[in-house]
Symmetry: D3
Subunit: 247 residues, 6 copies
């Protein structure tokens, strides 16, 4: 017996994916990414300075911050700014996004500047961190394109695409791209980050209920590999369009 | 000689106004309000509990929180959650929004529950606090409508509309609804909050440069009064539509 | 029917006002100001450095901090230093004091130095922020006088007086200079900051109960204008005395 | 050769001492104590509740908080509330004041209520913690007297007086009641807290420069014993007066 | 060409492993675990209460906290308690330890009590989180044994062993149990947590340099599986000894 | 009738004392000191920089930090890093350790570098601060020895030994080196810090119950003087051994 997904989605299908570039106007890159009902606004900001550990190194830095609007979720969660600190979950996620993006950046080619990727969840329905990574890549590319166009950079410091998806086992069925109700019910939850070339950047698998086997891990990685290939293709399609003009 | 506004906007004209209800799906009320390029997402969350000072009083509470995405602005500002505290400006604004909404609420009629209005600025171009108040009212009304529809409330605890606008004097010219470049250059800046019936809820006028006169204050209040009447009409028009269905 | 004030005070009368210069000995300016039972110690400290946003600008800075001793009030309130943060109310007030003082300062004439106005409430009975602004002006003038006397400044960077008063409507009666029992009961509460020349620096009116009308605002501003003229005269009288010698 | 004190004060003399009861009006006890130029406002607040570790014990609690106004000192120090934390020095001092007062209180006789002693330094010139303890005792007695007068207490929970003084060795000369210039220059600094009956409650001696000997400690304790006897007498004289009426 | 490990250690060998039970005396379980030069003190504390989300559920809770002494590392790192917050790395690790232990606990069988595992690194040389998990299991078992011995528990709530190890690829060579110099140089770093029965609880692989392939992941998981089997055996051996008597 | 100590220890006897140098390997000095069941790990870290108040002074700095593992105590205490602040007790103790060590250091001879003494309590049974001071001295000497050996220093900046012990009066009996059960029950508690030459660096006596007399203080100081002489001898013996080799 297998788990039946909402809306009859096949086990190996992504949710409807939408990538909107130029979603806000001030950032050097600004992307709204939607994995079904999950919507994350990813902006890339370029600043002509680097954190202390990179000063004088000739290298740049790429970092990320993550946030969730208080009512992005089913019930209101408290505002981190009001509580005065970020949760451990938030910190884990923003560290993951930062590492994932740096994995495809040549920091020396970027020069002594910082790209900050702000990923803010407007609406949450599972998979916010994977949507954030996938959207942040597009925002970073738009920011880099602007640096190339202005002559600030003469060559592209981005070596490859990077995208991410969640996979998991729900009631014994391996599924791609878990939405919230699936995520809450799953036995195993895995987030996978891969490059356009198909290399693994991060694999984070967690047994929520019973431990999982090597065979199950293999199945999940197969699902993720196929899903990420689709995401990378969608990134390419989105970036091939002209950036919408700001009035 | 008078100041010429961007896009040739008349001194007494509002920017293009857009109110989108049901912008996100989890909140009891969710409104994206746009004053020109300023875009604020206002959600209303209903919780069946009250803060300590209202416990056992039979009365409810209405409160607000305000935030700005780091790259809502021309240059990136640091994330309050990461710094571990809200700025004085943020606190002032969220206290203002809360007071403004409470001014039109009958807290006894609301019963022992809390409505929290989260106003998050996605894109800033001046007037974020006045847009937030104007949009939060619509979100609050949608949340109350849901309580009425479900039978949790039998009568409407909202006694009147409330809306807000900024006015100011730039290079000697009194202007309605300042956008960012005007706000940065103004001598006097005033935020006005009024009810649908035309009573004043808040008047906050500040001389940024030279002090202002009683006559100037009069002119500014006239501009604000007319502008707010238009906003209240727009709230009514928006609320007269059926709430968009969530797929 | 009109509201009868404590001690039979007329509606348009200030409370007994006392300005004591040289109240403490270390600060460049030190003033105890009393509005009836409200007592605020205002010190002006001169430091030969400026905050980052003024560095190298040739301009100085004037800023304020506000505090209330835990038992300045009828019941003890918790100590902000012990709780580890200032309330929103404290931050609002200290920002207001700072803006009000800067409104009469020529920061270029001050040179690259900072004047910090510390306003600490020893006893509270309504109107602490307006007493603080009125007293801080005198302390600032004493500090500037010391800079002029020492030759550090050759011309006075203070362009005009600044003073503040509260007005409000209690049970339908417009009143000047609200004390605590009046403030707690008022429908409308307004703080007004004006220059010696009679220009408005700040007007902050709030409807605590029912919204207020243009006519009521006019009456309140008339009351405030007269009251502030008296306060400015008292500042002048106080500053005309020789500073008491420190033993 | 011996050190010559400011104003020719003898080595074994206290500075001019002044105890003003009823200094502010809201607190159950309110005392301004002056040791020369050092001025500390000590208020005692009675609250009908106890901290968690005393709940249900039938015993009360006595605690203290200490603060220094930013410009109580020669140069401005930063405001602890603004920095968001109390220094280690502040915490040490307030813990010392609390322990000293508890040493003369019968907490069972106090009943389940808390007396909080807020000691705020208006002007500092050495010896603020000893002035605070000596003044806090008087404020505590005034608060207890009010509880006795109202019938809330039927017997006095205070078993004895408590007072404190600093002693030190400056340039080889043992001195009583160090003022700031002496304190900065001393080799050994000792704070002594004693009961009215002459028992030691706290002795805290620190070698700032060279270590001190048993003989020097003996001399310092003799000085302190005599000084504290004078302080206790002054407390008794002050408390023998009727409390000044509040208008 | 393959990487040569310090001390000639084979690629698939663990470092010398030592598990010392009863290392400190107050905790219900107290284990010093050493993976070569990495030394972590793991204590298990039993408290007869649960966090809010478990109150009234009939279930217990198992949680972990992690810390590193400031000079556990080659250069001193700042003390988290002094800085006033835990780093993102610390929070990630303690969340990982908690999840790993909960994976083998039957929280209903534990009853409404909490076991807190404090893992404090006395000396760091790579692999502190995996040592912490492996040692925390032994401490938890000792604490549970005490609850069983006292009759507080009648059956063992621990369903299986859990242990963890790091694996990685250094200069192309897959290695088991990375020490610090290897960890700093690796291209891929993976932490693996498994049960005694050989199921996966957590897999966290990160490409520090180039992305890794499915084949490499397979090799790393093989290494980890064998290493963890050895660790579980060592846990069993350690637990089979009588707990050293406390004098 | 006199108090009978645990294990029949005489009133004037120290607990078994053990000083283990080279306890961990990264720090320039690393000492585990044991006063009976109290065990404190003291590390000395040398950094080639000084805090702001010493910059450019030609002088170095010696400072200390203190911590207690959460389960060093009979019942678990909360982790300061997790709570986000150090308690007042922790701050008092680390300030005491720093002052005590600086009392025997010639900061000019140390040069512009900082020695930080981290004192972390692994197991607590009374006297942790005195053990910390006594052990930190040995760690500091080892760090200085390394600077002398490397030629970074040409002469020893340490002028004398420093050590510390607690004394107290329990049920009328003066005792040396209180352990936890004695400390909890004592009427008077005194911590004494002395140099090798027998001078007093700190004396901190507190009446927990009844106030103490001059005669009692004399007896306690006699006990402490003898105890510290023994501790200094033990420091010398420990330092006379070769430092254990690190494998």
């Amino acid at each position: 017996m297998t788990f039946v997904r909402p809306l009859g989605r096949p086990a190996d299908a992504l949710r409807p994916l939408r990538i909107t570039r130029g979603y806000t106007r001030h950032a050097e890159g600004s992307v709204l990414i939607e994995f079904g009902q999950t919507r994350v606004l990813c902006t890339a900001s370029v600043e002509e300075r680097v954190p202390p550990h990179k000063k004088g190194s000739g290298e740049g830095w790429v970092t990320a911050e993550y946030g969730m609007l208080p009512r992005a979720t089913h019930t209101r969660s408290s505002r981190e700014a009001a509580k005065g600190k970020q949760t451990g979950r938030t910190q884990e996620i923003q560290r993951l996004i930062g590492r994932s993006l740096r994995a495809v950046f040549d920091l020396a080619a970027l020069g002594e500047r910082t790209i900050t990727l702000d990923c803010d969840v407007l609406q949450a329905d599972g998979g916010t961190r994977t949507a954030a990574i996938t959207g942040a890549f597009v925002a970073a590319q738009d920011a880099v394109n602007q640096l190339l166009a202005s002559g600030a950079l003469s060559s592209n410091p981005i070596r490859d695409h990077v995208a991410a998806i969640s996979v998991g086992i729900v009631q014994g069925t391996p599924l791609l791209d878990l939405e919230y109700v699936e995520d809450s019910a799953c036995d195993t939850d895995m987030n996978v980050v891969m490059t356009g070339a198909g290399g693994f950047v991060e694999v984070q698998g967690t047994a929520e209920g019973v431990a999982f086997s090597r065979a199950e891990m293999g199945t999940l990685l197969d699902l993720a590999t196929a899903g990420i290939a689709t995401l990378v293709q969608a990134q390419k399609t989105a970036l091939a369009q002209p950036l919408p003009a700001q009035d």
